[in-house]
Amino acid sequence: MYSIFVKEIRSFLSSLIAYVVIIVFLLAIGLFMWVFPGYNLFDGGYANLDTLFNIAPWVFIFLISAITMRSFSEEKKSGTIELLTTKPLTDWQIVLAKYFASVVLVLFALIPTIIFYISVSKLANPAGNIDTGAIMGSYIGLFFLGAVYASIGIFASAVTDNQIVSFLVSMFLCFFLYQAFSLLSDFKLFGSYDRLVEWFSIETHYKNISVGVVDSRDVLYFISVIIIFLWGSKTVFGSRKW
């Protein structure tokens, strides 16, 4: 499993995907944080990273779908999946190796944003007057969010051998899970069940963690969603034998 993981990371690096993803992510977030009027830090006047944590989930919808769209689709199309599945590897090993490689790439994209944290902390008045706890929480939330998106992307990739279909399905599912449920609950259609509907959306849990309170219920939610989608991927991937 470790060898596939390493191979996946290497192919991200050698095929430029990794660099493009990281650069686009930092560029988009950087523009919103420091340049675009209305969003930028100076207009806001507060020493926080809210812009980063509000914009990142939306940028991730595109970027993570782009990272994961090829993981199974390409192997299916080029037939290399036959090589992999006739090696002494279980389906779980293949799915998990590909998943963790994507998660590591998400982590690589997140790490450079620590520079933003340092800059904002220096800009605060007095310097260093920044809510580190809330920012740490937000980072943990953002990481979990990326991990959930990655599991959705892997699932979408396992479903089809067409990368574009995989990309679109993944984007839709990510968006749906991120916000659709909480928007749905705004209709107040379900009476006392509104809270339950809202509970299904990633946004609710992400916002909870962003406050700086890492609640085990929220963590459990993220981990459950990841397990559900990975299990789905493994099932779809194993369906070649049906």
Partner: protein, 306 residues
């Protein structure tokens, strides 16, 4: 027996891709799968490598069932799939090392990779990306990959496709060498290849085994007629030859040669007739039935029956 196949079947809907085939293969045997397109050769190989499960029937590889112990089977098997899929954006060495790691070769991986690279003659191209290689070299990468972990059973789906004649000779030698103490199953369309490499041939047609014999015996199978070419010094009256019992037809070829198609080997009678009638016999040749002809008769016959 390293491979035992019992009533293995694969159905796609109503189509029977492989229809209850059974055979065995032992170590030290090179087994050739022969058959027209769509006969079920690749499907059988895919089932043996645990890529697709059989509809019914079983097979064991070195005592491990392909249904219950797929992981053990995959450890023992080296497999070259039909269209030789490869990660084209990887370097040759990188790819082989990756495959070696999957097989758990650990520290010996690098040495083993270099060994395979020189064995299949990849040394001059080993620093390139797989995508930049020509078809023949890609095929060698595939072969190297299948033999990396010294598999007990080697399954090769059309191993020599895309190779030039010199490479084919090298690869055949390599496969024969490996086949000395291991089991090799290979499929091919090329008859000479079977004759050059395989100890045993299995001919498959429409999912069924139509012939299973040692390569040298197979030439004798399915023969219904003998073809004899005789050459005389002068033109002769072919009625004399027609009188010989068993002759079905005579065609005159160029240069006083005659082609006789007959039920039995009548060379002795021909010399007698020639001697008695004062005809100077220059040549007398029994044309050997080739594997091609056996293949043709066996696979065509089946089609007629259906």
């Amino acid at each position: 027996m390293s491979i035992i196949v019992e009533n293995l079947s694969k159905h796609y809907g109503t189509q029977k891709a492989v229809d209850a085939i059974s055979f065995e293969a032992k170590a030290g045997e090179v087994l050739g799968f022969l058959g027209p397109n769509g006969a079920g050769k690749s499907t059988t190989m895919k089932m043996l490598t645990c890529y697709i499960p059989p509809t019914s029937g079983t097979a064991t590889v070195c005592g491990f069932s392909i249904i219950d112990k797929p992981l053990e089977v995959r450890k023992l098997i080296g497999y070259l799939p039909e269209l030789n899929p490869l990660y084209t954006d990887m370097f040759v060495r990188e790819y082989l090392r990756f495959m070696a790691q999957i097989h758990g070769l650990g520290k010996g991986a690098n040495k083993r990779c270099e060994e395979m690279i020189s064995n299949v003659g990849l040394t001059p191209e080993a620093h390139k990306k797989i995508g930049q290689l020509s078809k023949g070299y890609k095929q060698r990468v595939g072969l190297a990959q299948s033999m990396l972990h010294n598999p007990k059973v080697l399954i090769l789906d059309e191993p020599t496709s895309g190779l030039d004649p010199n490479q084919i000779v090298d690869i055949r030698k390599l496969i024969k060498e490996i086949g000395r103490d291991r089991t090799v199953i290979l499929s091919t369309h090329i008859m000479q290849e079977v004759q050059a490499m395989c100890d045993r041939v299995i001919i498959i047609n429409q999912g069924k085994i139509v012939a299973d014999d040692r390569t040298e015996n197979l030439g004798k199978q399915g023969i219904e007629e003998f073809i004899i070419v005789v050459e005389f010094a002068k033109e002769i009256n072919d009625n004399l030859l027609k009188k010989i019992a068993g002759v079905k037809s005579i065609t005159a070829l160029a240069g006083n040669q005659y082609k006789l198609i007959c039920d039995t080997d009548i060379r002795e009678q021909i010399t007698k007739v020639a001697y008695e009638n004062n005809m100077n016999l220059l040549g007398l040749n029994l044309e050997k039935q080739k594997l091609e002809d056996v293949f043709k008769t066996l696979t065509k016959k089946e089609q007629k029956d259906v």
